[in-house]
Symmetry: C2
Subunit: 330 residues, 2 copies
Amino acid sequence: MKDVAALAGVSLKTVSRVINGEASVNADLRTRVEAAAEQLRYLPNLGATALRRRDGRSMTLGALVEDLSNPFFALVMRHFEDTVFDKGYSMIATSLEEQAELEHQVTTQMVRHRVDGMFIAPCSTDQSYLAREVAAGVAMVFVDRPPINLDADVVVSDNRRATRNAVKHLTDRGHTRIAYLGNMETIWTARERRSGYDAAMLEAGCPIDDSIIVMNIRSEEQARVVAHDMLGADEPPTAFFASQNLLTIGVVKALKELGLEHHVALVGYDDFTLADLLSPGISVVAQDAPTIGHTVAELLIGRIEGDVSPSKFIEVPTTFIARGSGEILA
Amino acid sequence: MKDVAALAGVSLKTVSRVINGEASVNADLRTRVEAAAEQLRYLPNLGATALRRRDGRSMTLGALVEDLSNPFFALVMRHFEDTVFDKGYSMIATSLEEQAELEHQVTTQMVRHRVDGMFIAPCSTDQSYLAREVAAGVAMVFVDRPPINLDADVVVSDNRRATRNAVKHLTDRGHTRIAYLGNMETIWTARERRSGYDAAMLEAGCPIDDSIIVMNIRSEEQARVVAHDMLGADEPPTAFFASQNLLTIGVVKALKELGLEHHVALVGYDDFTLADLLSPGISVVAQDAPTIGHTVAELLIGRIEGDVSPSKFIEVPTTFIARGSGEILA
DNA sequence: CTGAAAGCGCTTACAG
DNA sequence: CTGAAAGCGCTTACAG
C-alpha cells in the first residue's frame, strides 16, 4: 500500500479510501491510485486489515464437520461456500472425526485465526466451553445436531418425523416386525431417528422387540453382520430401517448374500449415489443438504452482521424417495 | 497479550517468548505467564503474528479443487488436511466449478489472505498469471492436472498408463470394438486417458473407430444417451471404456435399460461407492486419493519450509479392480 | 476532499 | 535472562 501511495503520489489514507470504495475521493486521484494499484498488482493484506478495523472482520469462516469426505457434509459445505464466497468470505474446513478432543483443538485454532463465525456439526457432549467465544462475538451455527449446554442457532433435518413417516410407510405395507439398525447413540440424530421409529411402531400397534433393534453400529461391515444374523434367527424381520448411509449399504449386502433383496423390505435414512441402480432400488429418506448449507450460511452471515434476535431452531424438510425396496409387502 | 503481561507482571516480550516456547525464560516467570494465559484463556492472534514475523507465515493453506463435493477431491482434501493440521496449518477450501474466471478470483482471494501455499486442480488453460505469486514466495502444488506455462510441482495419477492397461485388459479378452466415452478435452486428464486408449488399441491391432469414440461428455445423462445410441447402431461395441465416474454410471444405466449389462464389457476410470454391489460389479481403475493428498501436503510444506530443489512431477500409481463387468468376453 | 499521527496485536532488533 | 522501542500493513480519529 505504501508503494501504491508513493507511485500515485498520494497519502496512505487516500489509497485506503480508494481500496475501500469510499465515495469522497476526487475522481482524478482515484484513477491515479487505481492505475498504481493495478501496475503493482497490489492486493490488500486481509490480516492487517482485520487487525485495525473497528469491526475486526477477518472475512474468514470456519466449517467443522464430521468428515470432509462424507457426502452429506461435503454437499452442505459446498453450498455454504457458494453463498458465503459471493459475500467475500473464505471458509476454513476441518474434519472432527467424531473425536471430542479434536473439536476442542479445532475450535481453538479457529479462534486463533479470529474467524468471524463458524458452523459446527458437534461431536463432543458439551459445548458450554464455547460460551466464552460466543460472548466475545464469534458467530456460531450448529448443523445436523444441536449444541449441548449452549444457546446458539441450529439447522437440522426433521429426523424424528421423517423416520416416523418412513417406518409408517413400512407398517402401512403390512410389516409388523421391522428391524432397526442405528448408529452411535452419542449422536443426537441417532437418538432422534430412533424415537421416530418407536413412535411409528407404537402408532401402528407393533411390538418393539429389542432383539431386532441394534444401536451403536459404527460401520457398514458391522451393519452387514448384524443384518445377516437377524435374518438367520428364528423370527427374522420382514423389513429393515437403517438409520444411516453406511448401515443401509451393509443391510443391502446382507440381503444380497442371502438372496432376500426382493423379499425383505428396506428403507434407509440418507440418500446415496446409485441407490436407484440397485435392484430393487433402495427407498430412502433424503436430506436436503443444499438447503441446509444455504440456510446455515444465511444465518451465520446475519449474525455476523448484527442480528441479535433469539436463537433459531430450523428444521429443514426431508423427502421420502420410493424406489422399490421400501414397497415390498410383508 | 497485553492483559496477560499485566496479570503476570512481566513485559510483553516475555509473554511472547513463553507463547513461542523460547528456551531462555526463567522457569518462575514462565509458570506465572502460563497461569495468566490460562486464566484469561489467551489465544494468540495469528493474523497479528503473521504481520510481524520475519517469515510472515499465516499458517493458512489454500485448497482449490473442482468441487468440494466431488468424492475424489473430497478424499484428497481430507488426507491433505490430516497431514497439515498436525503441523499447525489450517486449510481454506474452495470449489472452482471448472470456471476459469473463478480460478482467478479464488487465487486472488488466497493472496489477500496471504496463504503460505496452495494446491490447485487448475481449470483455466493458462497459469502464467501465477508466476508473480510464485516469485513472491507463495508455494504451489498442482494436483490432478499440471499447470500450463508455469513451473511448479505436480502430483497426478498415471492416467495414460492406467488407461492403456485397462483397455488392454479388454483387448486381451477378445474385444476389438471398444467404445470410448471421454469427458471435457480441455481437461488434461481427459486427453491423457484418451491417448492411453489410442495406444492400447494400436498395440492390439484394433481399429480406432471415431463412430464409437465420443469426447466432451459433461454429464451422466449425456453419457447414458451416447451409450444407448451406440448400442442401438449397426455395429455396436462389445465393450466400453468410460473415462470418468459419472460417465461410467451413465453407461451402466444404458446397459441396464437394454438388458445388456451381462453381455457388454465395461471398465471405468475412477472407483465409486457401490461399484461392487451392482451386478455385474463394475471393474474400474481406482485412483489413490489418500496418497495423492498426503503427497501434495508433504510437497507443499517442504516448499514452504525452504525446499528449493527443481519442480517435481509425481505420478501416483492407480489400481485396477476387477469386479466382473471388465471380464465379460467378446 | 486529503493527510499526518496514532494504534490494532504481535515480533524484531537492540540494550541492559 | 528481561525489557523498552520500533515497526509489520493497515484503519481510525482527528486536523486542516
